[in-house]
């Protein structure tokens, strides 16, 4: 098995807002190996993007880390100075944001924005950086790269801008690429292009990818491992096959049953997850999903379930699975972390 690249241990992060504390990340632990593609799925407010930002060391007021640690490539993010973080960002870890319309600077040319990263992190001369920028545009499938380098973001379409964002992110050949809903703002046929491009680049360059999305179709197509988040917690983690064919958490099961399938030949009714998303200001005492869970038990309302390991790569935080594990005397659950 390849080396451990990222190790998030019991991360806790809260936003201290005027109306109270929002526990955006509540004891999140996650590991990523070199070359792996991990998908993080969950609904808005579940903590997917905050997880990504904390890996980049991008937690800002009113958010504050209150526990846990993140280790990237042997270094602890929290103990790094701003200068060290700047060296890491864009160099070893890069991020592609959701909205390519707002994440590029409108007053600088495309070339300028790609060269900035290269000049900042390497000793290349301006001419070398320019050549590298041109190669990068070719790499991400942009025609006439010389012409494009002198253009400004508003002259490009949404799909093209996202390609430019990818070029910037890959400029220094990072070990880890975080894609935060990279195709949500794009049309279906353009989404297919961008996803294809990300996977092709991964085959060429071999970086690890964290793919943040709410679209189960995208993770099924691209990822090897999946983490399902709900209300600031990872409720289930496993390989893509384990999650899709043996889902263990009631939330994961609910999600899979509630999406319409294009290839269905009979009209099977959708089974929605009832209730409303968690109010993060007043989360329930026990399992955050308990109020919406059809199989909720008494203990679920009182106590957060521990992790139950179903295989070496598959775990879930659900009392139902925990009690099954007890019954089968397979008590390797508990705090097997």
């Amino acid at each position: 098995m390849s080396e451990l690249l990222l190790d998030i241990k019991g991360e806790r992060l809260s936003f201290f807002t005027s109306v109270g504390e929002v526990k955006a990340l509540n004891d999140v632990s996650l590991q990523l190996r070199e070359g792996e593609v991990l998908g993080i799925v969950g609904e808005s407010g579940s903590g997917k993007s905050v997880t990504a930002y904390s890996i980049m060391g991008l937690t800002s007021y009113p958010g504050r880390l209150i526990g846990g640690s993140i280790w990237f490539n042997g270094h602890q993010i929290e103990s790094m100075s701003e200068q060290e973080l700047r060296k890491m960002r864009g160099n070893e870890v890069s991020i592609i944001f959701q909205d390519p319309m707002t994440s590029l600077n409108p007053v600088f040319s495309i070339g300028n924005q790609i060269m900035e990263v290269i000049l900042l992190h390497t000793n290349k001369s301006k001419q070398e950086a320019y050549d590298r920028a041109k190669n990068l545009l070719e790499l991400v499938g942009i025609n006439e790269p010389e012409k494009r380098l002198h253009q400004y973001p508003h002259e490009l379409s949404g799909g093209m801008r996202q390609r430019v964002m990818i070029a910037i992110a890959l400029a220094c050949e990072p070990k880890l690429l975080i894609a935060d809903e990279p195709t949500t703002a794009l049309d279906m046929t353009i989404q297919a292009q961008i996803l294809e491009l990300i996977m092709e680049l991964r085959r060429k360059l071999g970086m690890s990818i964290i793919m943040i999305t709410h679209d189960l179709g995208i993770v099924a197509n691209m990822c090897e491992k999946i983490a399902v988040m709900y209300a600031g917690k990872i409720v289930e983690y496993g390989t893509v096959d384990e999650l899709f064919y043996q889902p263990a958490h009631e939330y994961t099961k609910g999600l899979l049953l509630s999406i319409p399938k294009l290839n269905a030949t009979v009209h099977e009714p959708l089974i929605p997850i009832e209730g409303t998303p968690v109010d993060m200001l007043n989360p329930p005492a026990g399992c955050p999903f308990a109020p919406r869970c059809a199989s909720c038990m008494k203990i679920c309302l009182k106590e957060m379930p521990p992790c139950t390991y179903l295989s070496e790569t598959h775990y879930t935080a659900c009392w139902l699975r925990q009690s099954e594990a007890w019954q089968l005397s397979l008590a390797e659950g508990g705090d097997a972390k």
Partner: protein
Amino acid sequence: MSDKKLVEVQNLKQYFHVGGIGKQKKLVKAVDDVSFYINKGEILGLVGESGCGKTTTGRTLLRLYEPSSGKIFYDGKDITKANMLPYRRKMQIVFQDPYASLDPRMTVGDIVGEAIDIHKLAASKNERTEKILTMLERVGLNSEHANRYPHEFSGGQRQRIGIARALAVDPEFIVCDEPISALDVSIQAQIINMFERLQQEMGLTYLFIAHDLSVVKYISNRIGVMYLGKLVELAESDELTFHSVHPYTRSLISAIPIADPIMARAHKRIVLEGDVPSPLNPPSGCRFRTRCPYATTQCAEQEPEFKEVSAGHYAACHNLDKVR
């Protein structure tokens, strides 16, 4: 579902003036010569990418925009120039963004009650209140919600309020304009199921607009696919998803990521080259030709006719024999 046409548009055109005067006048042909009908009790889905004119079609059909040309019929009557007030009772709309489409300074009760007042559907205050509460219950809200304001609700609940408002006047036809795309995945199924239940209970007819083909396929009887202001294919839902003939529809279906890892691995995607051209300056002839793998010189010169390829299945393409 009956065979009686409830809504019909013929050669509907909606051009927007976007600058320039006289000969330099610039027009966006948002909807360009679109014809279709919806039978009573039927759900017609409309899909396409952003800027293809699906929302404009829905709004023009309700005459929220005055059509540039073409005719709109409701229940057999030409309403292209008619006074719309009596028809507003029969034709309603649910908007995409539940955050922008509810007046933040009105209570939920007043939002739902406003249309009841305008159409004078309640004889007394009590009857009005009763009607509002029935509507709220019908969409899964309750009486205590009536005195609250929109900001107190989640996205899914707000969309329910938007639906209650549309239902308040007892309409026959509703344009559902991307009603679920702003909602979380776990909430989408709740709202889709509700649209389906209401349609059956109240015998409603929908024009269901969305960009997500799997959702449209789930709910609709027939589906129309739009590209740059044109209808390119129209057929029964299953026919369209399993036996599509237009190269654009095929690539659109193929672009949808399948939420099933084993099938996804076996799936070979048709990835279209290039971007959607600007609607300000659409390509000559067939508008899809710049991205179409089958394009010939004929496609550049001549606009393909929207014709029937098999019973009830229409498509606009010169090269149907090659695509098959």
